[in-house]
Every structure is written in structure tokens, then in C-alpha cells.
């Protein structure tokens, strides 16, 4: 990426319109701080991409009491590509609603949305995603993934990933997975001498790590996520 921009989260509702210029590549890192505890936040991003523009977003939510995030990725020009990673680590009665739209109009466009998080206590997450491939958007490649680990029986997940495709020469995939950490993995780590607490910490770390590490200036974020959960 040409550059990484850290966007501070505002306490009042935000509506941000971004135009990523042709042939540029940029990544954004947005996360909430401890001062956001108890707050309700609503953020909307509309990102339009010109030819051969490349954008990556990393959003992380740990502290807000409730949050609604709307992200609209508009791959209107050819060869544009966008990737969004939304991570959440929620406890208490925190709740996060993530709305994403991946709109493909140009040819040879790529988009991917990954929403991943861990819920404890009575926290909740709702993910609504739409991949929309318009007629004429040949060779579009769109992916969407939602994975949630539940660490409490009172936590709740709603996942509504949708796809609407109006051009045939494309590849669209989406997946949604919900459950606990695999018994098999926990056992494996413990059988090597690690305590259950350490094993959990490792699994939480690995759950988020590969998505965070892609972004520079994000190491503290990974630490905070792990600390929050374990």
C-alpha cells in the first residue's frame, strides 16, 4: 500500500465519502478507544474507486456500547479493488451492527469483506452484507466472510450475507461460520503443556492475527483485542 492512514473515531455520528483516485493504493485503520466505553456510535462510509485504485480498511470495535457501521464499496471503474476487515471483541451487553455493500460495476474489479469477532457475556453482533454485481461487470471477483466465536451461551449472532449477480462471467463467494473454538485445537495446545488460559489466548490471537498483520501500524490493536477477550 502506498500509505496507511489512521482515522480517529468520532463520538458523534460520522458520514464519510471517500474517492480513491485512479492508480493509487491506500489503507485505513479505524478503531475505537477506551474513552468510547458506554457510547453509541454510528458511522457510514461510502467509498468510490477509480480505475486501478486499491483500498483496504481495517476497523476494530472493542469499547463502544453499541455501534452501527455502514460501508458501501463502489467498484465503479475497471480494475479497482477494495478490501474491508471489521474485527470485534465484545463483552457485557455490547452490540455491533455491520452493514456492508460491495457494488461491482467496472470490469475486472475485486472486493472482499471479512467480519470477524469474538463474543462473550450477552454481547451481540448483526452482520448484513450485500454483494451486488451489475450487468457488464465481467470478471468481477467478490468475497465475503463472517466468522464469530461464541464464548458465552447468552451471546447472539445474526448473519445475513446476500448476493445479487447480474453478470455470469464472475466469481462470488461468501461464507459464514459460527461456533466455539475447536476442541481439537484446544486439546492439541494443552497436550503440549499449555494451560487452558494460555491455549485460549493463543487461539484468540491466531483468530485475529492474520487479518490485522496485513495492516501496518496495527500491532497495538491486536494486543488490545486479545486483552479484551481473555
Amino acid at each position: 500500500m502506498d500509505k496507511t492512514i489512521i482515522i480517529p473515531l468520532q463520538k458523534d455520528n460520522q458520514l464519510i465519502d471517500l474517492l480513491i483516485q485512479h492508480d493509487t493504493s491506500v489503507s485505513y485503520v479505524i478503531s475505537d478507544q477506551e474513552s468510547f466505553a458506554g457510547q453509541s456510535v454510528k458511522i457510514s462510509y461510502r467509498i468510490r474507486m477509480q480505475q486501478r485504485a486499491k483500498v483496504e480498511f481495517l476497523l476494530a470495535f472493542l469499547h463502544v456500547q453499541s455501534c452501527t457501521i455502514d460501508i458501501e464499496l463502489d467498484c465503479s471503474d475497471d480494475y479497482s479493488s477494495a478490501a474491508v476487515v471489521v474485527l470485534y471483541g465484545l463483552s457485557g451487553s455490547q452490540s455491533v451492527t455491520i452493514n456492508t455493500v460491495q457494488k461491482h460495476v467496472g470490469k475486472h474489479t475485486t472486493s472482499s469483506v471479512v467480519a470477524r469477532g469474538i463474543l462473550t457475556d450477552q454481547s451481540q453482533v448483526k452482520y448484513i452484507g450485500l454483494i451486488s454485481i451489475q450487468p457488464g461487470s465481467s470478471k468481477a471477483n467478490a468475497g465475503q466472510e463472517h466468522a464469530t466465536i461464541l464464548l458465552s451461551r447468552h451471546a447472539k449472532v445474526v448473519s445475513i450475507p446476500s448476493i445479487e449477480v447480474l453478470h455470469h462471467d464472475v466469481q462470488c463467494l461468501h461464507g459464514s461460520a459460527i461456533g466455539k473454538f475447536q476442541e481439537q485445537q484446544l486439546w492439541y495446545l494443552q497436550s503440549r503443556g499449555l494451560t487452558q488460559a494460555v491455549a485460549y489466548r493463543l487461539l484468540v490471537h491466531s483468530f485475529f492475527a492474520q487479518y490485522v498483520n496485513r495492516f501496518s501500524q496495527s500491532d497495538r490493536l491486536l494486543e488490545s483485542l486479545c486483552k479484551k477477550i481473555v
Partner: protein, 441 residues
């Protein structure tokens, strides 16, 4: 425009069938619900079917028989190419209702009677087994469920009533067309299947040959009760002619240790809205839905499946495949819901869609709603065209592009075809070959 549906007509229907008064009450209450409920705001485009039109479409008493000459030429030709026997053609075309299968039916009736199996049309079932009807009818799909369930509840006619006693396993699939009489293949069939503990039944309805009807609205209801340890498989192959709105509500309740499978093939109709549902009510019950949809020119297949986990240690599987071609639209609509405080839930959903050309459309609309943590839920969906590599591979062996496409599409739906009785499997493969022929413009 003459309204075809009112209290008088419904009362007439009930009287004609000599029904007990509770059924008449049921019908009348359902009529009220139908009038009250709005048209669904989601799903396929039903704008051509306005509330007034529905009244118009209901021909409640006698179904008029067209003559063979009235049957559209393409349908006549399709029968020819699919090799449908002459006698069946006229039946399928709604021209005559009597043919050899009545003989088969009589023989089978005797065999089943010995085991205590009941397989009748619903009206006769109501007369002969009123206690079963009072206990179960309308309990899986109450009239207020949705507008079209209400309509069906008011004017239902025909359909099957199947009762399998405890421990009885019916090895041969029970086929709907065995018991067809003039009242069936109608607009508002109502089917009720009761499988007592430990029983097994495979029920098959429909056929791959196109079924021509001048009536444009079909709104069926199917209720299945699978009591503990029972196993019910319900297979539908739908190929209604291209003028038909096919709006069906199908639901099963699986009690402890029971298994229910919906095997659903959607090939015809102008619009189909159908989401077979399984409620996993008892511990260790299992639900499986295998659905395929082929949407060609002018068609919208809006189908999928719903599974609701209400008990511990239940497992579910949905496998949905769709093909959209020549401007057709195929939409998968699904629901996977897991209630609070459950344990040991495993579910896998897989939806794959093939788009054959740039005129066609494919949608995937799943909803996953999980309120328990001891779960293992996976959902995957993909949309793409037939891979160039696969086409090249087959063409490099001498198959034409069209032949290659047909082979690949047949392979794509093989998971569904595997679940069918042999003779249907062969027909479906032939049907795909025919459909692929038409799609190469």
C-alpha cells in the same frame, strides 16, 4: 370481473365434500385471514397477481378440461422428446383423469392395507380418519402463517393423506400420481403426512414432464409430522407450464430422533415461491433439504429452505443448487435459526449457483440467526459461470460445447439426482439436456 371467492363459495365447497362442521369453520376463518393479510412484500414479483386477480383465478368447484388441441405445441413436443407414454400425456395435460395407474394403485392399496398404511386423497382421509385430522390438521401450518396458506386453508381440494403406523417401513416410494383422480393436480392441494414412531416413508410427487394448466395460480400446503424415530423423505419434481404462479408452503415437524428430508426440484412455472421448512423440535432430530432450481427465460425460481433448531443435539444440512439461463432468475432464500440455550447443534448450508449467460440473474439471501453457543454452524455460497476449463476439457475429448454444458450441468445437480428413484433420475438428466439445447441461441 366476477369474484370467484366468497363465503358462499367456500360453504359450497365444504358442503360438496360433506365435511364436518369444524372443517367448515376452519375454512371460513381462513377466508377472513386471507382477505386481511397483505401480499408479501419480499420475494418474487407477484404484481401480476393482485388480490382481486386471485379471486378471479380461483375456480373452486370443477376444473374445466381442455382438449388435447388446446395444449401448447411446445408442451406436446416436449412430451415427445422426453418419451412420455401416450396415456400419461393426456393425464398430465389435464385432458383426462383416468389411466392405468389406477390399477397399480388398487394393488398397492391392498398391500398397504395389510400393514395399516393409509394413502388416500385428503377428502377421503378426513372422512375416514377424523380423529387424526382433528389432532394434526392445520397444526404445522396454521392458516395465519401467510396469505397463501390462508387461501389454501379456505379452498383446499385434493392432495394426499398418508398415515404410516409405528415401526412400518415402506420400502417402495409412494407416488402421488397413483391416487390421482379428477379433483387432484388441482390448484389448492393440501397434503398431510403422519409418520408414527419408527416408521419410514418416501413420498414422491410431480414429474419432469411439463404439466400444463390453464389455471395460473397454484397454492399448495404440505404438512408433515414425523413422530419420534420416524423418517420421512418428501420428493417433489415441479415442472409447471410457464404461465403458472406456484406458491407453496411446506413444513415438517421432527420429533425426538426423527429425520425429515425435503428433496425439491424446481424446473417449471413462471414464478415459484417455496421454502420447505423443518422444525427440529425433538432432541437428536435431523433435517436435510436438497433443492435445485432451473430458471429459464421468463422464469423466477425463488426457493430455498428453512431449518429451525429447537432442541439439543440436532443436526441440519441444506444443499441448494441453481442454474439461471436465458434471462431467467433464480433466488435462494434460506433461514437457519438456533434457539437459546441449546447444546450440540451442527449445521451446514451450501448454496451454489451457475449463471449461463449475461442475461440471467442469481441471488442468494440467507439469514443465519444463532442464539446459543454450543454450535458448529457453517454456511457457504458461490455464484459463477461454468468454468472454461471444464468446457475445454470436455470439448478436447470431442463433445460439442452444448454437450459439454449439459454434462457439466447434470454433474452440478448430481447431488439432487442421487436422491431420486431411478426412473426419475433418468428423466431429470434428459430434461437438463433438453433445457440446455434450448439455451444455446
Amino acid at each position: 370481473m366476477q369474484k370467484g371467492l366468497n363465503k358462499q363459495i367456500v360453504t359450497q365447497i365444504s358442503a360438496q365434500k360433506n365435511e364436518p362442521s369444524w372443517m367448515l369453520d376452519f375454512r371460513l376463518k381462513s377466508l377472513d385471514l386471507f382477505e386481511e393479510k397483505p401480499m408479501p412484500s419480499w420475494g418474487a414479483d407477484l404484481s401480476d397477481l393482485s388480490a382481486d386477480d386471485i379471486h378471479f383465478y380461483v375456480k373452486p368447484i370443477v376444473e374445466k378440461r381442455a382438449s388435447w388441441d388446446d395444449v401448447p405445441l411446445e408442451i406436446q413436443q416436449t412430451f415427445e422428446r422426453l418419451g412420455v407414454p401416450q396415456a400419461e400425456r393426456t393425464m398430465l395435460a389435464g385432458v383426462s383423469a383416468q389411466f392405468e395407474s389406477e390399477v397399480i394403485y388398487k394393488r398397492l392399496k391392498e398391500r398397504w392395507a395389510n400393514k395399516g398404511v393409509v394413502f388416500l386423497d385428503t377428502e377421503t382421509g378426513l372422512k375416514e380418519y377424523p380423529e387424526l385430522f382433528e389432532k394434526y390438521f392445520g397444526t404445522v401450518i396454521p392458516p395465519h402463517d401467510n396469505k397463501f396458506a390462508a387461501l389454501n386453508s379456505a379452498v383446499w381440494s385434493g392432495g394426499s393423506f398418508v398415515y404410516v403406523p409405528a415401526g412400518v417401513r415402506i420400502d417402495q416410494p409412494l407416488q402421488a400420481y397413483f391416487r390421482i383422480n379428477s379433483a387432484s393436480m388441482g390448484q389448492f392441494e393440501r397434503t398431510l403426512i403422519i409418520a408414527e414412531p419408527g416408521s419410514y416413508i418416501h413420498y414422491v410427487e410431480g414429474c419432469s414432464a411439463p404439466v400444463y394448466r390453464s389455471n395460473s395460480l397454484h397454492s399448495a400446503v404440505v404438512e408433515i409430522i414425523a413422530l419420534p424415530g420416524a423418517h420421512v423423505r418428501y420428493t417433489t419434481i415441479q415442472n409447471w407450464s410457464e404461465n403458472v404462479y406456484n406458491l407453496v408452503t411446506k413444513r415438517a415437524i421432527a420429533h425426538e430422533g426423527a429425520t425429515v428430508e425435503w428433496i425439491d426440484g424446481n424446473f417449471g412455472s413462471k414464478v415459484t415461491m417455496k421454502y420447505p421448512c423443518i422444525v427440529l423440535k425433538g432432541k437428536q432430530s435431523k433435517g436435510q433439504i436438497v433443492s435445485i432450481a432451473v430458471a429459464g427465460k421468463g422464469q423466477h425460481q425463488d426457493s430455498g429452505g428453512k431449518i429451525i433448531h429447537l432442541a439439543d443435539d440436532t443436526t441440519s444440512n441444506i444443499l441448494a443448487k441453481s442454474i439461471s439461463k436465458h434471462g431467467g432468475r433464480s433466488s435462494y432464500r434460506g433461514l437457519l435459526k438456533v434457539a437459546k440455550n441449546l447444546k450440540g447443534i451442527v449445521s451446514r448450508v451450501q448454496c451454489d449457483a451457475l449463471l449461463l449467460d449475461e442475461l440471467s440473474r442469481s441471488d442468494t439471501y440467507p439469514t443465519i440467526d444463532i442464539a446459543a453457543d454450543d454450535v458448529d454452524i457453517g454456511h457457504e455460497a458461490s455464484v459463477s459461470k461454468i468454468s472454461d476449463e471444464q468446457i475445454f476439457y470436455l470439448m478436447s475429448r470431442g463433445f460439442s460445447e452444448q454437450q459439454a454444458q449439459a454434462m457439466i450441468v447434470n454433474g452440478f445437480i448430481d447431488c439432487f439426482v442421487q436422491m431420486l428413484p431411478m426412473e426419475y433420475a433418468v428423466e431429470i438428466n434428459r430434461l437438463i439436456e433438453l433445457e440446455m439445447e434450448d439455451s444455446i441461441g
